[in-house]
Symmetry: D2
Subunit: 302 residues, 4 copies
């Protein structure tokens, strides 16, 4: 059970009136959940604008995402939170209530290929990607200049070719994430394998982009593998990081058409485009609280 809202309560209070909130939760399925939740919201002067709920029979779990408006930010809201906490306890919920549009603190990790990083930098700076980039870490210096040009912190965390160095570097990576209060870590083509400890610590809060259409072509050089197979479509997959490499709940996938005249370079170029699109879409959905984890899968409310 999350209580991340509590520390933010003052923040909510100083926000303007007529603000939208996003409630997301999952809990063991039983009858009356939707009724209890919406009645509690109604009683506390919440006005619902978007409701999506889904009951998964296989896992016997109820998932929900509700957007609601509160007219006035007064003690009423504190009351709503307190009552909701009680209900959440009763129903054994994983839950959070967040301000809609609140930018989530995001730490990006990158190695030598920058197309996903650049796409995120640009969308955050010039478009409306709802994240606050709290820093970029890399085991290479390649993208320091562009990151700093955009006004973000760049952390160079090199790795030597031994296990000790790798462990030390991952520890620094983790420390930066913690110091910056990162709510999300994005592996934007970060070509390092993370430890089981790191993976489980950031479970559900660390997104990776895999440069293939999983579960095909796991491992290295997937576009070369795809080329050798003579496929007619190539794809990319974003997923939550787990200790199981190239696995973890899939968030989004997309594809692009290729043909016999495309070289492995063409495969790679087209693939890079899909990766950027799939990753930035996933980050947006995460920031908008649209993704809920359902065991080894995800629920994505559109």
């Amino acid at each position: 059970m999350k209580k991340q809202y509590l520390s933010n309560l003052n923040y909510y209070k100083i926000c303007a009136m007529n603000t939208n909130y996003i409630l997301t939760f999952s809990c063991p399925d039983t009858s009356g959940i939707q009724s209890k939740v919406t009645s509690l919201l109604y009683k506390n002067f919440a006005f619902l604008t978007d409701v999506q709920s889904y009951s998964d029979i296989d896992s016997n779990t109820f998932f929900s995402r509700t957007v609601f408006t509160i007219a006035e930010l007064s003690d009423e809201f504190e009351k709503l939170i307190n009552e909701f906490e009680q209900l959440a306890n009763d129903l054994q919920m994983e839950w959070s209530i967040d301000l809609e549009g609140k930018k989530i603190k995001t730490l990006i990790a990158v190695s030598k290929l920058g197309h996903c990083l650049n796409d995120l930098l640009y969308r955050t700076k010039f478009r409306d990607m709802p994240i606050e980039i709290v820093g970029v870490i890399s085991n290479h210096e390649t993208y320091r200049e562009i990151v700093e040009f955009h006004g973000f912190d760049f952390h160079y965390l090199p790795i030597e070719k031994n296990e000790e160095s790798r462990k030390k570097q991952e520890k620094e990576f983790n420390s930066i994430a913690e110091e910056k209060n990162a709510e999300l870590i994005v592996l934007a083509r970060y070509m390092q394998i993370l430890s089981a400890d790191f993976s489980s610590k950031w479970l559900g809060r660390c997104i990776n982009i895999h440069h293939s259409f999983l579960p095909s072509f796991k491992g290295a050089k997937p576009y070369h593998q795809a080329f050798d197979k003579g496929v007619k479509l190539i794809g990319a997959t974003s997923h939550f990081v787990t200790s199981d490499l190239d696995e973890g709940p899939i968030i989004e996938q997309n594809i692009e058409r290729v043909n016999h005249s495309d070289s492995t370079d063409d495969f790679t170029r087209k693939g890079n485009d899909i990766e950027s699109t799939v990753l930035s879409r996933s980050v947006r959905w995460y920031a908008e609280k649209r993704i809920l984890i359902n065991g080894t899968k995800t629920i994505v409310f559109n």
Copy 2:
């Protein structure tokens, strides 16, 4: 306010236990709708499996689709319906409660091009399209044989080239639809313009497939128009029929890629494929109660 459930109540009663129902409604937006509805359902032993609601700010209307299960079909269900009718009155709802999987009675109209008709026949007969085809009407004899082979009624309603004949034929068309208790009329490339009377009588219950990517290329020979423009994508559009030709709330659209080497024949062939897919998808969604009309637009719950 619809009361179509009432006549079906006995039908519900004889159905097996543990049946799924689909509640759809729209009503003027106000606070507490979701709470009141789900509380009523909960109190009456309904178990919710899928909830999607959407509040449209522009039209100030609340739309909802809820799938629920009732464990036992007893007087409880009649009580639920009675209570719901009361609430629906209070909230000025357009609503219906339907058995999930209940096949809706569908009348298909076709002229000389049969790809959409055949697709519907096949999906209904050999796949799981949840409709009951109550007949096919046509102003040509072309598809009598295939329709009758599949075991459906074929009604030949020819039209002479004068207004009187057109009116008389439309009247027969309407009579057949009424006699067969059609819940949906599908214009599967029916190349006749329907009167304003007919359109408004079947408003929201008559789907047309338009062989272009509306609003481009309205009117005749859209694929030829598209070819002349040198477009790189062609598309098709399904929509509810209104008295405004080639307009009416759009339900679904899709496209296919074309290039310079495609002839108008190729445009037409590819276009026909998209039409079949878009139309059958729309009919399925309609039968699954996923489509709600919002003025000149549609809400489609996925």
Copy 3:
């Protein structure tokens, strides 16, 4: 080196003037191929309307597809063929010259799932699929009625659960294909594994549709596998049959989007749609001589 044109020469002669021909060939790459071929065609009064050639560096092979028109069918054409045969010998070509629009003799094999079969029947009968269906064979009776309704021969070739019966049945399958002079065998969800002998005999002339996005989810129940993985896209793959099950040069692939609310039934239904589309597209391309085999891959000229 193919000589399939020779037996057809009289057929060509009786065809009307101004007919289009499709020349396809592949041969070891060297300089001057295109020049020699087009000069020969020009000298023999051929008018070129579409030329696509591709030189594959990896296999050092030149592939070409040329559409040309001959104004008059006289001895000139026989001269062209004779000269071309000489050139083809010199360049060690695999080649064929075919009348554009000539319907290729096609034998379809099906088991219990008929969506691909029906799609092919419909497109051949009512649309413009350029094939002549010389028969349908099946190890089940399920589709006899619909096949015969469309006016095609149905051959029931049951299989008992022993190796001997399987061998005997495959032999009958092969005999029918030979008697009917089938130029193409289409496995339209034919759930039998073919022997290495059969596969190599029909190499490059037997197309299979695989109900998954190869190389993912090989083997049985791919949509269930995909569902368990929580993928967001499902797909289908058509390929030439080789003795290596679920492998063989890929011809075409396509995908459809799925989400968390799709059941395995939904996966299957959407998958079936993609299979039909991908298979019928492949058969069309084959009939139009657009597909050339390049080792374990294909060249598809669009």
Copy 4:
């Protein structure tokens, strides 16, 4: 007839051996074109790797794109060029021979929306977009910083709200394009209407991205128009600029799915993504000499 190769001949000579060239041409259709061209190439030691030709019946024009390799850059190449010029004269060709991979000099124009510009900057700087950006002009200062950060010239050409200022500014725009020897002008959301003079001067060398799926929604605020119509797909269109606003030969189009819960902001955001992709794809194809103009349409060799 173009002779742009001549001034580049010395450049060719200093290039390394085994270089690829791209020959593109269009000419009135007649028999023997392909034969004459490929024979000339063969005689001059060219090795063909990719040939695509298309004969358009409506315009009676032959279009061709051939990639060839020359082993040695000697006087042979000059001889090839001289001979080709003779043949091109005879056949009344529009033609050019270019080094494959040669970066074309590109001038970009932008107003206040930078997503297309940024995409081009990034792809040119960090990926492999085969253009040389010779400058960016704008009627606003908005993107000076990012353009200069990437190391390109920025030209601020403001416009006052009168015809005289507009004319003067366009003249400066034209002067910069000429001074920089721009081979291509890209209107990357440049919200100014260009004069007929400018349009015809740069005919076939000036690409615009239109933020809608032409021919729908011409004019201002197309995404708002699309929203009001309740469409389910939105798109973008790139085209060559002609004096006819929002017309001109279409190069490429693409679409993205939208639904009822998407706001006009969502329409715009998704639309911006499609615009960037469609425009950068068009620029790449232009640089790779894949686009030939066929009256009011384009031939795009893939």
